[in-house]
Subunit: 267 residues, 2 copies
């Protein structure tokens, strides 16, 4: 269900760009990407993932990575770690880099100004620990719109909060989908998922095998065939959800192609 | 020199509260302090120090504390560490705590929205590394005022930036002085330095020996007598500077006395 339109006017364009951990891990690629991001016209929001820096830091601090059914658990030590790395180290360095090239970035978690409240995921059937699932209906749109209208560029890391004092580790793709969905009744929103591949590929090892457009039927067919697997499943699931919530366009693409928009377009 | 008045109106009251590292280190005392801070009437800004958490984390990560002439040096590893601990761990947990008690906090570094640009300290005579000295004239007052007018409560950690892509470690007392000075032409500003002592004491070991008011002449006399020493010298120096820049009131006090205002008042 979509919330009511806040402003009675023709919709302005908004780009919501999610940059994956593999790019964040590489300082040269990240810098190149930030320059492109700065050149993207119109209102925009950046959302960044974590990457290997957190894993490396966990090793240095002797924090063991706990997994259940192959999926990571965020215990209290891991929550501290990701808060330091995502909200501190990565977020603030991205902000300083953007500021240095004239982009008026402001780094945020979902806790700041209560931008993205989450619900801690139920401990049943699997207790993932301090992990949050945000809800597009509860996003603080008023505040985010104010920032955008004042020419600030929000930069979100993958941390939210439960409103009861606890921060929560949250999937960055999900944050991108949530913010895009929340703002789609106010803006004509394009969601870009930037990562280290050309888009959705028929053959992971062949960048030429790019699927240029994909719809929900094709998506289900490709999952059955095993072409779409692992991390790509939730990314596409979030993307189709975003479209059903009113997001105009979702593009999955290589970070280097942000300005051309070449990648897999969801229809 | 004071900048021109931005708004032609009677000045509203603004409290700028700096909380020291010793309180931040103690979860129970911090929580109590945040409840008091939330009860403080009117517009307000919180600025927090770092404390022993950073030192402990440095040990865990094997980062050596480098000193020159007894003063810490911020090398690139230390800068990463303080960015993680101050801007990530401490700042975002304070924000989440404040949000949970109904205080609409937003956590910021000086890099965010270019709120507090700094100049990296000259390497002569001593190279302190990535340390920044902010300038009240360059504070992004427009943005901070917008936040305050929209009922947001800015929470600053002790990190600024040079505008050229580098974050800078910055003394939290200095940030408090800088922000207070910058906003004093817009608001009737009171600067509170909260820490673990009752205020300026004639005898450090006797909390009853509180100096209730102090002026610049008394300050100089007490330095000569050795009564005021160590960290209290820059704190008072910043405080007198703040008053000369138009800050209405500076009070140095125990964190537990924030609501009564009982402490040492600078005149």
């Amino acid at each position: 269900m979509k919330s009511k339109v806040l402003y009675n006017r023709e919709k302005e364009k908004l780009s919501i760009v999610k940059i994956g951990g593999n790019i964040v891990d590489n300082p040269a690629e990240l810098q190149k990407f930030l320059i492109d991001f700065n050149m993207l016209k119109g209102l925009k929001i950046l959302i960044h993932g974590g990457g290997a820096i957190a894993t490396k830091m966990a090793e240095q601090l002797g924090i063991e990575t706990k997994k259940v059914q192959g999926r990571r658990i965020t215990d209290s030590e891991t929550l501290k770690l990701v808060t330091m790395v995502y909200a501190g180290l990565i977020n603030k360095n991205i902000v300083a880099s953007l500021q240095s090239i004239g982009c008026n970035a402001i780094g945020l978690t979902g806790a700041d100004a209560n931008c993205i409240p989450s619900i801690r995921r139920s401990p049943e059937p699997v207790d993932f620990g301090f992990v949050g699932d945000p809800d597009p209906q509860r996003v603080n749109k008023t505040f985010i719109v104010e920032l955008l209208e004042n020419a600030s560029i929000p930069v979100f890391c993958a941390i939210t909060h439960d409103g009861e004092g606890s921060l929560l580790n949250t999937n960055a793709d999900t944050i991108a989908y949530t913010v895009a969905s929340a703002l789609s009744d106010i803006y004509k929103t394009t969601l870009y998922y930037c990562f280290e591949k050309e888009g959705v590929l028929m053959d992971l090892n062949n960048p030429e095998s790019l699927i240029e457009t994909i719809d929900i039927d094709e998506y289900n067919k490709l999952i059955q065939q095993g072409v779409i697997a692992d991390g790509m499943i939730p990314k596409l699931f979030n993307s189709f959800n975003a479209i059903s919530q009113g997001v105009s366009e979702v593009i999955i693409l290589h970070a280097k192609n942000l300005l051309t928009g070449k990648g897999t377009k969801l229809i």
